[in-house]
């Protein structure tokens, strides 16, 4: 590229020199012109190619294309405008300059000079003509054969440089020249000869060789008949000084005339050269613009592509650093940035993997522990529930998550106590609490140990509540059983011990002293010992009842028809009594899985209580309703057994302690009836509720899990 420019530059400078009409490069002018034209065509071709390429890039929306176009246009405009201005003014100067060379006055002066020069010769010409005519006269008598000698003579005498005698037909008769080596004399032109033959003389300047001569051609006067018409030509040299000056004037004039003639072509030539220079400059500027723009934009284009790659997520793109300027710095920064990004992304990936690992671990942990974990948000929205929790609560895992606790309670009513508990502590703003809560769900009665911890939130993670649930139903039951059992056993044993001797002693006293005593004393003894024995019996009964309560035999579950059981038990109370015992038994034949004996006992206790409360005894007068109902809540079917009496109902303070042992309103009650009932209910996984009925009287309701009508399964052991 550079070579082409240099070549064109050289050839243009040569051409401009040649335009000046200098001899040095004049020969090469045409060649230079062609070379320059070719060079320019090549340049145009290259620019066209570049332009085409740029357009393609622009259309393809390749990175950097628009910037390159803008840069190119800018450079081109920057190049074109000043150059055009300079060109325009140069051209003006050129034309005006050339025009100024050609002054009308100069031309006139030169013509005058020439005139003067010519006039300077006039006198001489006249004189020499006369001289020549004189010489010709002398030759009139000389015959042609003798001409050479005469010519020689005459020549020497006249001082002419050459004398030639020409015959009628134009042939040379004789000649004498100062230059002895000259063989062929100068001949006058035909026109002159003709003129002479017609008798006219001619004299004039003749630039023979490089010197001016004066040529005089005169006819030789008529020599008589037989003598042909001859013509004498004389060549005289011009004095050196005159010659030189005249030549100078002639040269100046000729040159000026030439130049004046060449004025327009000269202007055109210069204009052409200038235009070529302009074109060369412009085209090379344009090409340079393309080149420079591309070079400049290359790093930007790289950057644009690199940025695109980064945006697409490819951080491995490294750009080549070219140059130490700001763009180079930008490219370096870009490289550093991508490297850092890649590193950061890898780090992020690694830490994410770690987090994932930890989360997986945690999830595995939570999935496998037996305690239920429920994570709540601050608005009591369930965030996470582990498998154990779902199992404990008897819910499907997918139903339990991403749901507000309230909604959960709405959908599963049995969870209400738990929800209430949480809310209660929320209101009290307890950060940590541990409580037990009892639910009656699909699996019946559950006692859950609930430990809650509040997790404070921060910027990243919102806070919340974590509940840890453990199903301690069986545990409690077992604990209680064990405790009670132990106590009961010991107590029974300890109490029973003194009872028997007491009874025996009383009976011995009766035996021994009853017949021997006076009737009044015997009566007292009789009554007293009777009382002792009776009370001891009562105590024995009590102890037995207690120990019965404490030590329950193995429970034997079987599928029972509850209605039938109720009817069976109630039959015992119907016979001969005037009680009003109504039954409202749900005809959908509820079946429960229960121990028959215990159920009977349960029913007995309840009915007995009801009868007593209703203000009657076994003799009658009470209104009792025993009902069974099949209910459905939260998708779980249960059986509700209710015993309602028309008595006064429970008093306010009683109602809280109803099921506690030794709580009774009856004079003769052991206080264990309802406690036993509750125990039985709990053994069956049911719940019991006692309340005052709205229509008056007391009602005890028991809920048990309902089962399908019996298949062929036999009784099962509950305890393991």
């Amino acid at each position: 590229m550079l070579a082409l420019f240099l070549l064109l530059l050289v050839s243009l400078s040569l051409m401009s020199d040649a335009t000046h009409n200098s001899e040095r490069f004049g020969r090469l002018y045409s060649l230079l012109l062609v070379t320059n034209a070719l060079g320019l065509i090549v340049l145009i071709g290259m620019i066209a190619v570049n332009l085409y390429w740029l357009l393609q890039q622009y259309r393809k929306r390749a990175a950097g294309a628009r910037l390159t176009s803008r840069l190119v246009m800018m450079f081109v405009v920057l190049a074109v405008l000043p150059v055009s201005v300079v060109y325009y003014f140069s051209l003006q100067f050129l034309q005006q300059g050339i025009d100024s060379w050609f002054n009308v006055q100069i031309e006139a002066s030169l013509e005058d000079a020439l005139d003067l020069s010519q006039s300077a010769f006039d006198v001489r010409l006249r004189d020499l003509l006369h001289l020549t005519e004189d010489l010709a006269k002398e030759l009139t008598e000389v015959p042609s054969p003798l001409a050479p000698l005469s010519l020689f003579d005459l020549r020497v005498r006249s001082g002419a440089s050459e004398l030639t005698l020409i015959g009628a037909n134009g042939r040379i008769i004789a000649s004498s020249s100062v230059e002895s080596t000259k063989i062929v004399p100068d001949r006058p032109s035909e026109g002159v000869l003709l003129q002479s033959r017609q008798g006219q003389s001619y004299v004039g300047l003749d630039p023979v060789g490089d010197e001016l001569h004066i040529r005089a051609v005169v006819p030789v006067p008529y020599g008589g008949p037989g003598v042909e018409t001859r013509i004498l030509q004389a060549l005289y040299s011009v004095p050196e000084r005159l010659n030189v000056k005249a030549e100078k004037v002639q040269d100046a004039f000729a040159r000026y005339k030439e130049l004046a003639y060449l004025r327009v072509p000269l202007k055109h030539s210069y204009t052409l050269t200038l235009s070529l220079v302009l074109l060369l400059t412009l085209l090379s500027a344009v090409w340079g613009a393309f080149y420079a723009a591309r070079r400049l934009v290359a790093p930007i284009r790289d950057l644009a592509e690199g940025t695109r790659a980064v945006a697409d997520g490819d951080y491995s793109h490294q750009l080549p650093v070219t140059g130490h300027d700001e763009l180079g710095f930008l490219v370096q920064s870009f490289n550093v940035m991508t490297r850092r990004l890649a590193y950061a992304r890898d780090e992020a990936g690694r830490s994410q993997q770690q987090v994932e690992g930890q989360r997986t671990y945690l999830a595995a942990l939570l999935a496998n522990i037996s305690s239920g974990v429920v994570s709540l948000a601050t608005d009591l929205h369930v965030r996470m529930v582990n498998e154990a929790a779902a199992g404990i609560l008897g819910l499907e895992l997918k139903d339990a998550v991403e749901i507000s606790l309230y909604n959960l309670a709405e959908q599963h009513h049995f969870l209400q106590p738990l929800v209430d508990l949480v809310l209660e502590h929320q209101l009290q703003q307890d950060l940590q609490w541990t409580e037990e809560v009892t639910l009656f769900g699909s699996r019946g009665r559950q006692v859950l140990s609930c430990r809650a911890t509040t997790i404070p939130g921060d910027d990243v993670h919102p806070g919340g509540l974590v509940l840890v649930l453990d199903d301690i139903t069986a545990l409690i039951q077992a604990q209680r059983d064990a405790a009670w059992g132990e106590v009961a056993r010991r107590l029974a044993h300890e109490i029973k011990n003194p009872l028997t001797p007491t009874q025996l002693s009383a009976e011995r006293l009766r035996r021994k002293f009853l017949e021997r005593m006076a009737p009044e004393d015997a009566e007292i003894l009789d009554r007293s010992t009777h009382t002792i024995v009776q009370q001891v019996e009562t105590m024995k009964e009590m102890v037995n009842a207690f120990s019965e309560y404490a030590r329950a035999p193995q429970i034997m579950l079987e599928v029972l028809d509850l209605n039938r059981l109720v009817r069976e038990v109630l039959d015992l109370y119907r016979g001969g009594r005037k009680h009003h015992v109504r039954t409202q038994l749900d005809p959908s034949a509820p079946y429960v899985e229960a121990d028959a004996g215990r159920m009977r006992q349960l029913l007995h206790n309840l009915i007995k209580n009801a009868l007593e409360a209703a203000g009657g005894n076994e003799t009658g007068g009470a209104n009792i309703t025993v009902s069974t109902r099949v209910g459905n809540e939260d998708g779980q079917t249960f059986v509700e057994l209710a015993v309602h009496d028309s008595g006064p109902g429970f008093s306010a303070e009683m109602i809280y302690k109803l099921f506690e042992p030794y709580v009774t309103t009856k004079i003769k009650g052991t206080g264990l009836g309802l406690a036993i009932v509750k125990k039985i209910v709990e053994e069956h996984g049911g719940i019991i509720q006692a309340e005052n009925a709205p229509e008056g009287g007391a009602e005890v309701r028991i809920r048990l899990r309902m089962v399908e009508a019996p298949a062929l399964s036999g009784p099962r052991n509950l305890a393991h």
């Binding site: 009409n21 065509i41 145009i44 190619v49 390429w53 032109s189 004039g204 000729a254 003639y261």
Partner: protein, 196 residues
């Protein structure tokens, strides 16, 4: 990342050549119009083993040429002679090529036209241009070619033409002389057969 640069070199060259061809084949350059110089007659005769050429050329100048001459521009005329042997299967072979150059210039001081015979360095001046042109136009017994250079039995063609040497014109005019019709003074080739 200079995408199209290397790949476009070939198309660059092609486009350059196409442009060149287009320019060169433009009709102006190849066509000839009015003739100024004409060879009215030419012949050769053998004398003493040397072929002598006689020709008469009519040097008729265009107005532009005349103007140039009168303004002192020297015009260099060239008479070209070539002898070719015609062959059937190839192009002709040039046996001999000669040229005679003359410079014609107006001398203002003496008001004469000076003819400088460039081959012999002889100078001759004429009071009238016609005389000068006449002197130039008459070729008389010009020794052209030695007989021994020709083979018997072959067919030879002699060609003669008169041209204006544009390269000798002053550089400012040269460009126009190439393009302008007024300066296309060259005569067509005048050929005749020669059989030894």
């Amino acid at each position: 990342m200079q995408h199209g640069w290397v790949a476009n070199n070939r198309s660059q060259r092609i486009s350059v050549w196409l442009l060149l061809i287009g320019w060169l084949s433009s009709p102006d350059i190849l066509q000839a119009k009015e003739t100024y110089f004409t060879v009215s007659d030419a012949s050769t005769r053998l004398s003493d083993g040397v072929y002598l050429l006689d020709a008469s050329i009519d040097f008729r100048f265009s107005d532009a040429a005349m103007e140039a001459l009168l303004n002192g521009i020297p015009l260099v005329l060239e008479v070209q002679i070539k002898v070719e042997r015609s062959r059937e299967w190839l192009w002709t072979k040039t046996i001999a090529a000669l040229s005679q150059r003359y410079r014609l210039q107006y001398h203002a001081l003496s008001e004469r036209y000076v003819v400088h015979f460039l081959n012999t360095d002889l100078r001759q001046s004429f009071a009238r241009l016609d005389d000068a042109l006449l002197a130039l136009g008459e070729v008389h017994e010009f020794p052209m070619l030695d007989r021994r250079l020709l083979q018997d039995g072959d067919q030879y063609t002699v060609g003669l033409r008169a041209t204006l040497v544009v390269e000798e014109l002053p550089t400012p005019i040269r460009l126009w002389a190439y393009a302008a019709e007024q300066w296309r003074l060259d005569s067509p080739w005048y050929s005749w057969q020669l059989q030894p």
